[in-house]
């Protein structure tokens, strides 16, 4: 099969069972080349399972998936060459230096020694950690480790970068730095498939988002288009112990409606969390 005949990622009726637990239930979707695609859902919704199947870490129970035209099961070696993978858990060799971690990755992807060394310098400069090349990984902060993992995943120049909850556990300022880095990577032409349960992350970064709940794909679309299906403004009304949210096209409509309620209320812009709740009845976070 020739690469680029298909979308960057093509998932067809993908299912995954862990014993009796159905982690994925017939998910189908396509991610276009150069796109930043966010896969949004609460913990346990099947986001990581999807990434693990696409990167060869898990086998599907049913269905197929292609990355850059290569079947992830039948042509796994070629498929893996297309992918860079940054898992949710930090998985660097703590005892080795930053440089050594990257070098081993290059060897795993069969790159030439000279090329690996050039790429390491370039990528560490790219992520702003060139001065830490010789530092043992255990001496780095969580945010630095995350950036090293992104650099490692980019070392072999993958066409698609998989980021599984790239900013989980990081403080807001570091999170913003990682977002800027992700945007830069996309602008350099890499397709990015990102899982997150942070609404603002998906809204800020993604060209399109997919909602996943309990292993089922709920919807796929551009963030703004999904938001506009509800309206642009939300009115949160507190009624006793319950909170009700109403949606309006304009802020004025929302405010006009708000004054009719005796309890406390707030008017705010609609976000993807609202869309998710309206579709699934559950929260993302």
């Amino acid at each position: 099969m020739i690469a680029n005949e298909r979308p960057a990622i093509d998932i067809v009726e993908l299912s995954k069972n862990y014993g009796r637990i159905k982690a994925l239930k017939g998910v189908s979707l396509q991610v276009h080349s150069g796109e930043l695609f966010a896969y949004l859902g609460p913990n346990g919704s099947g986001k990581t399972t999807t990434i693990k199947i696409l990167t060869g870490l898990a086998r599907p129970s049913a269905g197929t998936a292609y990355v850059n035209g290569f079947n992830v099961e039948k042509d796994s070696i070629h498929a893996k060459r297309q992918c860079g993978y940054v898992p949710q858990a930090l998985n660097l060799d703590n005892e080795l230096t930053v440089e050594q971690n990257l070098y081993i990755h290059g060897r795993l992807f069969h790159l030439e020694k000279g090329y690996i060394k050039d790429r390491i310098i370039m990528l560490l400069d790219y992520i702003g950690l060139l001065d830490r090349a010789k530092s043992p990984v255990k001496e780095l902060s969580g945010g630095m480790k995350r950036r090293v993992m992104i650099a490692r995943a980019l070392l072999h120049e993958p066409k698609i970068l998989f980021l599984d909850e790239p900013t989980v556990g990081l403080d807001p300022s570091i999170r913003r730095k990682i977002w800027a880095l992700i945007k830069r990577i996309q602008m350099d032409g890499t397709t990015i498939f990102l899982t997150t349960h942070y609404i603002e992350e998906a809204e800020f970064l993604a060209d399109r988002v997919a909602f996943l709940a309990e292993g089922t794909l709920v919807t796929v679309g551009k963030p703004q288009e999904l938001i506009e299906t509800l309206g642009r403004w939300a009115l949160d009304i507190v009624e006793g112990e319950h909170m009700k949210t109403l949606y309006f096209k304009t802020q004025e409509e929302a405010k006009t409606q708000a004054i009719q309620y005796p309890g406390s209320f707030s008017v705010r812009p609609v976000n993807l969390e609202d869309v998710f709740i309206s579709m699934t009845g559950k929260k993302v976070q």
């Binding site: 990167t55 060869g56 086998r59 081993i104 990755h105 795993l108 992807f109």
Partner: protein
């Protein structure tokens, strides 16, 4: 097979970081055996016409190559469950055989290191052997077998605790019962028969015959090679099954 060098290189880099700690750790067990059995039992006991120390050293080399070869299981488990580096190998475009080859070669490297330590220590204790090619072949085959077994079991276990159980119930008894520290001829017939099926028994026979200059124990080499290949093939299969 591309990619095995990366796996092996990573293990060597980590070994280099811990080299002196590792060296000290590898020296403790043989040193204790030599003091306890060498000085403790000393020259007063002879087994099969040689001093007990001379009888024991080949057995110690067999046992140590088994322990060091199998020792990679703990490292693999740490990489898998604690550091999660194993995911990095799973996501890399390398075949399972390349992963197993890299790890098994590291197991053999550890076994050779352990053997060199014993050779030096036994020399200090006044024991002299001719460490010929037959000896190294037996030692490497034994390490190949147990390193392959280590990869199999490291892929099967679900936690560090399971790993410790395997060592307690499989490796330690085999180390003591496989003709390493006493001649099997002294065992009751039925026990002798059972113990003759253990690979460590054949490693001890092959190493002892090589060091005593009796010529190669061809049958034992054959057993170690065949079992080693079987374990290696199963290890490749187990790595594939380790995918979720």
């Amino acid at each position: 097979m591309k990619g095995w060098t990366a796996i092996y290189y990573r293990e060597i880099l980590i070994l280099r970081k811990r080299f002196f700690r590792q060296l000290a750790s590898m020296s403790v067990m043989p040193l204790l055996y030599m003091i306890a059995f060498g000085y403790g039992i000393g020259e007063s006991v002879t087994v099969d016409g040689v001093t007990y120390m001379n009888f024991m050293i080949p057995g110690l080399l067999a046992m140590n190559s088994m322990v060091q070869g199998f020792g990679i299981a703990a490292e693999i488990n740490i990489a898998r469950f604690y550091w999660r580096v194993f995911e990095e190998f799973q996501a890399a475009p390398i075949r399972h055989i390349a992963y197993v080859t890299g790890e098994v070669l590291f197991g053999i490297t550890r076994a050779v290191m352990g053997a060199l330590i014993i050779i030096i220590l036994s020399w200090l204790f006044g024991v002299r052997f001719s460490y010929n090619g037959y000896f190294w072949l037996a030692l490497i085959l034994n390490a190949f077998l147990f390193a392959s077994l280590a990869v199999c079991l490291a892929m099967v276990v679900k936690s560090h605790a399971d790993q410790a159980l395997l060592v307690n119930f499989v490796i330690t008894p085999m180390g003591f019962l496989g003709g390493t520290f006493f001649p099997l001829e002294r065992m009751p017939l039925i026990i002798k028969e059972v113990l003759s099926y253990l690979p460590i028994t054949h490693a001890a026979i092959a190493i002892r015959q090589a060091l005593f200059g009796y010529g190669p124990a061809l049958f034992s080499y054959g057993v170690l090679l065949v079992l080693g290949i079987i374990c290696f093939v199963i290890a490749v299969w187990c790595v594939d099954r380790a995918r979720e």
